[in-house]
């Protein structure tokens, strides 16, 4: 059975279910649970649900400590950029503790933050900065693109015994979707084929999944069948599903909202180049954000971001049905 929920409500449902299931799960952060009427406070009380000051280093550092002491904190950070204030705790403490202890301790915590809010939020609240958290051994990165995945990946993140950056896309916040009832877990490291097709493989995450599907729909009218893959977690990354698809299609377009030189697509391109080179019939193309800070004004904002038109154009180039620009 399933029910329809907006993306953000699906995340909340997962946190609530996990908090009900396991009383070691905590939920704290700024501007959270400020009234007794708050649904989390009513259900779980102020011991486990707390508002914090604007103090990211303390919030995330305390999550590390509470996790060392056996709890499972979910830190509400709102904006991915706010993790930058406490980058040491995110990158240099939480994911390294277990390793440096030789496996004697574990640090299960979830850093929940939105990203990619390209809706006039200008330079400091719009970044697709997941690339900064990739390649940090010990840290996992989940980027749900649908309401169902938002719920399932959050539940998995909370049950994971490692620090997880759970990054929800702000432009998907109110996007409704069918969400399975009750306990629902989406495994990490398992990509989802959003649309099957034999001509070209498109890999996209978050908000870009919808753009890729829109591009695929318009390409279908031209007789081009695109396969759209959503990795769902970038760490761990399901390279098997991607390589299997590439083997079938021989053509690849990688879509990423991040600036080109900080994009996860580069990492995926590297994997394909190394492990799927012989199956490629054309060079890989990446459709990414431009290497700029996201501008405020709407026309400029749109200019620097990937969209379905740019994705479709890249597909045509890869398939040789349109000229490749110099």
């Amino acid at each position: 059975m399933a029910h329809e929920l907006p993306y953000i409500a699906a995340i909340n449902e997962a946190i609530q279910l996990e908090m009900a299931r396991d009383d070691s799960v905590l939920y704290f952060g700024q501007n959270l649970a400020t009234t007794e009427n708050d649904e989390f406070v009513r259900a779980f009380g102020h011991d486990r649900v707390r508002v914090t000051p604007i103090a990211e280093t303390a919030e995330i550092g305390m999550a590390v400590g509470a996790a060392l002491a056996g709890l499972r904190p979910v830190v509400e950070l709102y904006m991915a950029e706010f993790m930058l204030v406490a980058m040491n705790q995110v990158v240099n403490e939480a994911p390294r503790f277990r390793y440096m202890s030789g496996g004697r301790v574990k640090v299960p915590l979830v850093l929940k933050a939105g990203y990619g809010f390209t809706a006039g939020w200008a330079g400091q609240h719009t970044g697709s900065i997941y690339g900064m958290f990739l390649g940090i051994p010990g840290l996992k990165v989940a980027l749900p693109a649908t309401a169902a995945d938002a719920k399932g990946l959050m539940a998995t993140a909370i049950r994971d015994d490692n620090p997880v950056c759970f990054l929800h896309h702000y432009l998907l916040t109110l996007e409704p979707g069918e969400v399975p009832d009750g306990e629902y877990l989406v495994p990490f490291g398992q990509a989802q084929i959003r649309r099957a097709g034999g001509d070209v493989t498109i890999v996209a995450t978050g908000w870009m999944v919808g753009k890729a599907l829109a591009a695929a729909a318009s390409l279908a009218a031209e007789g081009i069948e695109a396969e759209v893959i959503d990795p769902r977690t970038l760490a761990p990354l399901d390279t098997t599903t991607i390589l299997t698809s590439v083997q079938k299609t021989g053509h690849v377009v990688l879509v990423d909202q991040a600036p080109r030189h900080a994009a996860a697509s580069a990492l995926i391109a590297g994997e394909i180049a190394e492990h799927g080179f012989s199956t490629l019939k054309a060079p890989i193309r990446q459709v990414t954000g431009l290497d700029v800070t996201v501008p405020y004004s709407e026309p400029m904002e749109a200019f620097v971001l990937p969209d379905d038109t740019k994705i479709a154009a890249a597909v045509r180039q890869v398939l040789g049905t349109a000229p490749v620009p110099a």
Partner: protein, 346 residues
């Protein structure tokens, strides 16, 4: 661990226990230091010693009960020794061996022994403070009557992590005691060069005012004074009244750490910064004269709590214990190289 309810009095056996622990820390650290000369290349990276802090560490830890917890900095050898961690495993860790406390994954700066309440360290100044505060948050909501001690240096008190954490701990009345070990030097920077309170001649404990919590300053060279101050703070925390900032004034007798050098250059402990950087040989000599270990021994002997013969016997026993730790560390094999990929994810 102590079960004493009288803050003013450690009984004679506890006093001798405290003296023994101080000697154990000193001897362990001496053996770490000597390893650089006796076994060049065995210790890699950066190692920090706590000589001069033994009285403060032991006095503070003497207040703890069985299931209390603590976190500290990369200058971390003293605490687990007092908590009962095997010095052989600690030395093997510092030597990067498979018999090490953390299997050689952590080294000198990253000792962890959660079963004894030693929840870990951070190698980055100040960053363990929010973590200890989080451990205290866990203790509070689980209502297990635990208190957490959080150790850090004077340099850390200029870090945002310090202020953010103390504010929250005070607001949430967390069962934590912040023990600032003020050894007057942040690496080679003197505290009055970087701290507005120190520059004005004030004790650093005044920083507690900003968070509406008590702050006290204590002579960190006197284990009984530290014990009394921390005992009062622990009692307050245990009763649910929240945190205290205890500034323990002490003098680090070794340099900040061994020299930092590329591979091939033999590592060693340089002269103390007071002498090497500031030319303040007199300051350093005075500190040596105030060394808390002989000072406490003299006090116990003068007070008739300990005779010289027993003191010597304890010292001999401690020497044997740490000699065995060195031996164990040297004999312990190196880890399998391929094991390096373990423990990345739980």
């Amino acid at each position: 661990m102590s079960t004493s309810n009288n803050p003013a009095e450690l009984d004679d056996e506890r006093l001798i226990w405290a003296f023994t622990q101080m000697l154990r820390i000193r001897e362990f650290e001496e053996r770490v230091k000597r390893t650089f000369e006796e076994h060049p290349g065995v210790i890699r990276g950066h190692t920090h010693l706590a000589d001069g802090a033994e009285a403060s560490i032991v006095g503070a830890l003497a207040t703890l009960r069985e299931n209390d917890q603590l976190m500290c900095t990369y200058r971390c050898h003293g605490y687990p020794l007092v908590l009962g961690t095997d010095p052989r495993a600690m030395m093997a860790e510092i030597y990067g061996r498979t018999g090490g406390l953390c299997g050689g994954y952590g080294g000198s700066m990253h000792l962890v022994d959660p079963e004894r309440g030693f929840m870990g360290t951070s190698g980055i100044v100040g960053q363990g403070i929010p973590q200890a505060t989080g451990v205290a948050y866990a203790a509070q909501i689980r209502k297990r009557d635990q208190v957490v001690l959080c150790f850090f240096g004077d340099g850390a008190s200029k870090q945002g992590a310090f202020s953010e954490s103390l504010n929250i701990a005070s607001l949430w009345k967390l069962p934590v005691v912040y023990v600032m070990e003020n050894n007057s030097y942040n690496v080679i920077t003197r505290v009055e060069q970087e701290d507005a309170n120190a520059a004005a001649g004030e004790p650093l404990a005044v920083k507690a005012k900003a968070f509406s919590m008590p702050g006290v300053t204590v002579d960190g060279g006197d284990p009984i004074a530290v014990y009394e101050a921390v005992w009062a703070a622990v009692a307050r925390a245990r009763e649910g009244h929240g945190p205290t900032l205890v500034e323990s004034k002490l003098y680090r007798l070794s340099a900040h750490g061994n020299i930092i050098a590329p591979p091939g250059v033999p590592l060693h402990f340089p002269e103390h910064e007071a002498v090497e950087v500031f030319g303040a040989a007199e300051e350093y000599e005075a500190a040596k004269r105030g060394d808390p270990v002989p000072r406490f021994r003299a006090r116990l002997v003068t007070d008739g709590k300990l005779d010289a013969e027993r003191a010597d016997a304890i010292a001999a026993q401690v020497r044997d214990e740490m000699q065995a730790a060195v031996r164990y560390g040297l004999d312990s094999p190196f880890p399998e190289p391929a094991d390096a990929v373990n423990h990345v994810y739980a």
